[in-house]
Amino acid sequence: MNFEFSPEQRQLRDQARRFFAEQCPPETVRAVLDGQIGHHAQLWQSMADMGFMGVTIPETYGGLGLGYLELCVIAEECGRALLPLPFSSSAYLATEFLLIGGSQEQKDRWLPLLASGKAIGTFAYAEGSAMVTASSITARYAAGYLHGVKLPVPDGSHADFAIVAAKADGREELSLYAVDLNGDGVERSPLATIDPTRHHAQITFAAAPAEPLGHTGTGEAMIAAVYDRAAVLFAFEQLGGADCALAMARDYALDRKAFGRAIGSFQAIKHMLANMYVASVLARSNCYYGAWALSTHADELPGAAATARISATQAYQLCAKDAIQVHGGMGFTWDFDCHLHYRRSHLLAVNLGSLSQWEDQLIDHLQAAKQRDLGSTA
């Protein structure tokens, strides 16, 4: 049994951690938060130079051709650094849609640009309030053109192209379309969100030229497949964020004195930190399970992804909120970084659908597994 990342993968993680510590310190995140920088092109290019954008892209398209385990360790460091860039939209979503559904021509066109960081991709799915379901989507595609309004679209303001979920004329199933966001018929406007360190936009498609990605009517299956992969990768981001928030809180509890001693010596604070640690350990082990399922293309990926997703969401939300609590009033100031994790933890809790959707998926998976077990012993 070797339920652990390899020495080379751990080395890559350490390398990514050093990279982000140098290139993406809190000041960089805050520059985006305060609106001084829209898209941090220099950091984006440095990440591309490191090869991060093309980790899972085959070498024939200019990527590194490594596996998902390598992307997982990078994702953890992105989360730790509160990376304020469209990496996840491009590398976990757009890249994966192209890999599983793209035609040869689409792969040839977009994957080299994604791998080199010259293009940013994203996925446009939600259409405002209410849970997204196949039946709730109103965006329509007909004769090469797309119509509809999508919001929130992650990184919609800076992405070069989007994979868009819509319905083909006369069909009720979902299909996917690739749309050049710099082309005609696309209007984008930034959205104010709970986490300004990650850009989101509203995009209106009014006869935007679009081309199908994958077969018409197979959108829902492709979305489910990519979301399972993305859930594991985002879970690693959440894990990195949770550990960072816990470390901040621990350091503050050692440093801050009250009633003549470090506040970390009080059991009320100590036990809060212990609970954060427990949640983070459970999330890490579940994330490893997700990473294993992702990297081995295991049948249990839907269950493993949901497990990692739920566990990491819980851990990040707990660590972020209680990091503020440990910091007391200082934790609620704009100047302390606690609120950055609080914001990010709540963004990442819903960016792939609500917790209850993942809970449903997990229970469905466990029920199916139980049926299989009963079937195999019968």
């Binding site: 049994m1 652990e4 990342f5 970390g264 010596s265 059991q267 459970l282 579940n286 294993w292 449903d360």
Partner: protein, 418 residues
């Protein structure tokens, strides 16, 4: 990243599995499964002590009893990873070891580190093979989480025999009424600071002056005892470590704990999932209910987190490393899971949830038993609060609490002498 055995490990696993298929008491399996997590050996159809003994004896003959102990002491001489694989394969039959687990997990390793060679050869093989039962005489009515505050006295006899005379009371002693021998920590010097005035002994539980009274627990069961000592004589040769070194000796067992990973922790998740899959409400199966699903998912990820944390520890053992501190979370998480799951399982059964009769209650009454047992799980072997202190202080590096008894002679601490 994989869950695969090396070829050697796969061979070992196959041999263990084949041996278990041939020799395990399969007729007890169903009973053991129903009783999992309720804190008793749980078998009523046969004497649980005899069932445990015969399982140990069979295992000893094949080198699977106390798998990681040296062969000369009755063990299997197996590597740490082989021990883990054995535990995985032994599975539910590992529950049978219950009454012997104190000896195998705590008393044995302490003897191995501190007893004479002659004593090791005399006492360890019968312990390994289940011929002699050991108990651990540590906790007292006034010393639980703060064990070093114990009051049982050990005074060296003035008759020239160098024997130690023990007076005092121990409590929460599992299996004291069945035990042949006990590991005892007592205070030899009340004028020393509290951790420094303790000495460790082992003694014959049939010694004159020992009185054992069973404690009736809140669950109604009798799993523990009080043990009273009145002028009990212990030969000096049965002292483990120097006088005053008892605290250090007691920590030996704790060092072994990190390696005792791999055996499944019972969380109750599989049981509640099965129950929720079986029960119906007026609007359909309970497992279709949104609120039920959410609770199940929450417990599923905690149970899965424990499972894969153990896998990470096993991976470390397989590499020859010591598992990391993350393994401190196991019992803390599992104990609350048991209690929450039992509470909810009873709610799912509504009015009938109060019935404990195994013939009438859902799932043979296992959730009612789990409910009544689970408060103890949050206390025994380190309460939730002590475990959080350990995580806070040893893992996260937070400062200890202020101790007003620090560096003060024990007899000068207010209220220490009882």
């Amino acid at each position: 990243m994989n869950f695969d055995d090396t070829p050697e490990q796969a061979n070992f696993r196959a041999a263990a599995r084949a041996w278990i298929a041939a020799y395990a008491p399969h007729h007890l399996e169903a009973e053991l499964r129903t009783a999992a997590g309720t804190g008793t050996a749980g078998i009523k159809s046969v004497d649980p002590v005899e069932a445990a003994r015969s399982w140990l004896k069979a295992k000893a003959s094949a080198g699977y009893a106390c798998p990681s102990w040296p062969r000369e002491f009755g063990g299997g001489g197996l590597s740490p990873i082989e021990r883990v694989i054995w535990q995985q394969e032994e599975g539910i039959f590992g529950q049978l070891n219950g009454i012997f687990s104190i000896g195998h997990g705590m008393c044995g390793p302490t003897l191995m580190s501190w007893a004479s060679d002659e004593q090791k050869l005399r006492f360890l093989p019968p312990m390994a093979m289940g011929e002699e039962i050991w108990c651990q005489l540590f906790s007292e009515p006034g010393a639980g989480s703060d064990l070093a505050g114990l009051n049982t006295r050990a005074e060296q006899a003035s008759d020239g025999s160098r024997d130690w005379i023990i007076n005092g009371q121990k409590i929460w002693t599992s299996a004291a009424h069945l035990a042949n021998f006990g590991l005892l920590i007592a205070r030899n010097d009340p004028t020393a600071v509290k951790h420094k005035g303790l000495t460790m002994f082992f003694l014959d539980m049939s010694s004159p002056g020992i009185e054992i009274r069973p404690i009736r627990q809140a669950s109604g069961q009798y799993g523990f005892n009080e043990v009273f000592f009145t002028d009990v004589r212990v030969p000096d040769a049965q002292r483990l470590g120097a006088p005053g070194q008892g605290w250090e000796v007691s920590l030996t067992t704790l060092m072994n704990e990190r390696l005792s990973i791999g055996a499944a922790i019972t969380t109750g998740f599989d049981q509640i999932f099965a129950l929720a899959s079986q029960l119906y409400a007026s609007d359909g199966p309970l497992i279709a209910n949104r609120a039920v699903r959410s609770k199940l998912a929450n417990w599923a990820v905690r149970a899965s987190g424990l499972k894969y944390t153990a896998m990470r520890a096993v991976s470390a053992i397989a590499r020859g490393d010591t598992p990391g501190p993350e393994n401190a979370i196991g019992k803390l998480v599992a104990a609350s899971l048991n209690q929450e799951i039992a509470t909810f399982a009873i709610d799912l059964q509504a009015e009938a949830g109060i019935i404990t009769d195994p013939d009438l209650a859902a799932a043979q009454g296992q959730f009612q038993a789990m409910l009544l047992r689970s408060p103890a799980m949050r206390i025994e072997g380190g309460s939730d609060e002590i475990l959080r202190n350990i995580i806070g202080e040893r893992v996260l590096g937070l400062p200890g609490d202020i101790r007003i008894d620090k560096n003060v002679p024990f007899n000068l601490i207010k209220g220490s002498i009882q």
